[in-house]
Symmetry: none
Subunit: 413 residues, 2 copies
Amino acid sequence: MCAMKAEIIAIGSELLTPDRMDSNSLYLTERLNSIGIDLNAKCIVGDDESSLEHILRASLERVDLVLATGGLGPTEDDISRKVFARVFKQPLVLDETILQRLEERFRSRNLPMTSNNRRQALVPSGAQVLSNDQGTAPGLWLESESKHAILLPGPPHEMKAMFETHCLPRLAEMSRGVRIHKRAFKLTGLTESACDARIAPIYTRYRNPVTTILASPGEIEIHLKATASGDEEAEALLNELGDKIEMELGDHIFSRRGETLEQIVGMYLTMRQATVAVAESCTGGLVSERLTRVPGSSAYFVSGVVCYSNKAKTELADVPPLLIEMNGAVSREVSIGLAEGIRKRAGTTYGIGVTGIAGPSGGTEAKPVGLVHIAVSSDTVVDHRETRFPGDRQRVRWWASQLALDMLRRKVV
Amino acid sequence: MCAMKAEIIAIGSELLTPDRMDSNSLYLTERLNSIGIDLNAKCIVGDDESSLEHILRASLERVDLVLATGGLGPTEDDISRKVFARVFKQPLVLDETILQRLEERFRSRNLPMTSNNRRQALVPSGAQVLSNDQGTAPGLWLESESKHAILLPGPPHEMKAMFETHCLPRLAEMSRGVRIHKRAFKLTGLTESACDARIAPIYTRYRNPVTTILASPGEIEIHLKATASGDEEAEALLNELGDKIEMELGDHIFSRRGETLEQIVGMYLTMRQATVAVAESCTGGLVSERLTRVPGSSAYFVSGVVCYSNKAKTELADVPPLLIEMNGAVSREVSIGLAEGIRKRAGTTYGIGVTGIAGPSGGTEAKPVGLVHIAVSSDTVVDHRETRFPGDRQRVRWWASQLALDMLRRKVV
C-alpha cells in the first residue's frame, strides 16, 4: 500500500516576503491526503520566469503530479501560464470560449474590460481548461508522458472551488486504493498540557492513526490520521482510538467534524427552537459577528448591541445607571444586567452580556487589562464567569467571545 | 546594484502536514532583507534523503547561498548532515570538540547520553561548526566554489540565536553595502485589473524598485521594494516611483505604512474629534467589530446595534415600520433610516447603516444574494451606495464592511 506522491508550487513574489505565507498548500495537502495522495515537498517561488521554470522541471523529475497556485492573473507579473506552456512544450493559443466568458463577466458587472484581461484567455494548446466560477482566471491541467501539472488561481476561494469541482474527482480516480481518513476533535476549556496529560496515555499506544495536538487561543484540536487500504478499515481505526479520546474528554469536546463553535451553538439553538440576543462591550460586536457568520442564523439571532459607553449600556440594554455606578462598568453585576436587559428587551430565550478591559490601556490594579465578566441568562437562571485572559487586545477579545459562546453551548446543549 | 540572492530549505516531514507551517523562513527572510539579501525561493521537504539531495542541488544551481533549517537532531530521520556532506563532497568526520561538549551537556543535566546523540558530532570535513548555546545540535556552514550552505537547527529559539551570532555578521559582510527598503500602499474601491491598468504604465518603467500588486477581497496592496547601495539612495528610489503612483491613484489609497482601514478611519475620527455609531443588519456586527479592533476606539466609537429582524431595526435604530413596509428591509431608504436613526439616537457625528442579503439563501430576483445598501450620514448630508457583491456569505459581509468603512473614511478625511 504505497500512496501516490505530489508536490505543490506556490507562485508569487509576495509569498517570499516576511509578512506573507502560502496557506493554499495547507488546504491542498488536506484534500490530497483525503484521497490517499501524500505530499513530497512544496516550493514557494516569486514572479520570476527562470526560477519558476527551474523549480517546475526539478519537481517534475521527483514526482508525477505537481499542483501550482497563483500567477494566473491579468497583471504584467503573472507568468505561470507562459512557463508551464514552455515546460510542457505546448504553444499558447487564444481560447475563444474563455475570452467570451471574460467579456460577459465584465459586461454583467458593468465594468470595462481592459486589454490585459485578454491574457487570461491564453492557454497552452492541448491543455484542459478548468473553469473558474468565482473569478476571471481559468485554471489549467497539463499532461505529458504520465506527468501531470495542475495550475490553479491564487485567491483561496477561487482555488478551492476549482479544485473541488475539476481536480478532486479525477485525482481520486488516479490514486485508487489507498485511503487516508482523518478526524478532528475541537475542544475548549482545557489547556494544551492538561489535555495532553489526559490523552497521551491513550494515543501513544497507537502508531496508526497518527495523533497530532494543535493549540490556538481558546481552542485545542486533536487530529487523528488513519491510513488504510479501504474506507471501512480507515474508519474502524479512527473509531477505535477516537471513542477512547471522546470518553476521556467528555463535554470539553464541542465538535467532531470540524464545525466551528458558532456553528455548533447555532445547531443546538435551531434544534431547541431557541433564540439569542447579545449585549457586548469589550468584544465590540465580535460575539454577534461570530453568531451571524452562520448561514440561517437569522432564525435564532434576534439582535445585538455594542455598548461601549455607560450611557449606551443603559439606553441599549436597560442596565440601571445606579448599578453601573455602584459596581463599575466591568463587574459581575453589569455583565448580568447586560444579559438580562437585552434578553428581556429582545424577547429571546437567551441573553449574553460581556463587559471587560481589552486593553492595551484602561486597566487598573483592581481591574487589570484582560479582566472580563460574561453572563448568559435564560428566564430561569443566569450563569456568570469572571476570567482574566492573557495577551493583547485582539486575543482578549477572541478569548472572551470563545468563552461566551461556550457558556451558551453548555446551556443549550 | 544587484542584491545577493538566497534560498531557504525547511526540512521535516511534520512541515508537510495540513496543520503545520514553516515559520522559521519568515524570520530569516526579514533578517536577510535587512542586510540587503533577497529571497529567490523557499522549499519545504520531508525527512527523505533523495528528495532533500535533489532539492539542495537544484537550489545551489539557482543561487549562491542556501539556508536550511531542521533535520539536525539525533533521531534516525534527521538526515541533513549526511545529505549536505554528500552534495559538498566532504566526508563526515567525528568532531571531538562537539562530542566533548555534548557529553558535558548531558552530564551537567544528569541525563544518560544515548549513542544516537554521537551522530550530532559528525561534521563534513572542512565545514565550519556553528555552536548551539540553546540546544544540542550544532549548526554547519559549508562552502565550495563560491557556493555557501548554512545548516541551522529547527527549533526557532535555537535557530534564531545561532543565526544572529554566527551568520548575520558574516552575511552582512558578504552583501556589503546593499540595502533593501520597502513601501506598501493599500487601497480600496478599484478592481485589481483597473488598478494595474492605471499604474502599469508607470511602474513597468522601473526595474528598481520592484512593484508587486496583491489583491484580497475589497483591498489591493501595492508593494515597492528598492535595492540600493545605501539607505538614502533606497529611500530616494521609493519616493520617485511612490510619488507617481500616489498621484495616479489619489484618494483610492488609504494607507502608506501598512495601517488597516479601520486604523486610518480611527486616526481621522480622533483628529477631527468626531464620533460614530453603527446600525447593521447583514454584516452582523462586523462593522462595529472592525472599528473597535483599534486600541483607543472608545474615544470615537459610541455604540453599535445589530438588527437582523424588522422589529429590531425599529426598536434599536428608530426605523419607522412604514418605511420598511413600503421599501422592504433591504433598500436605500432603510439603509438611510438605519444610519440616521442610530446617529440621532447615539448623538454622534456620523451614523453608518448597512442592510443587505449576505446569503446563501434569502435572495430574490429583484433583490439577489450579495445586494447591499450602505448609508453614511452626518448632520448635513447622507451618502448612499447600492452594490452587489460577489462571493459567499463571509465575502459579502467583508466587502460590505470594507465599503462602509471606506465611505466613512472619505467623509471624515
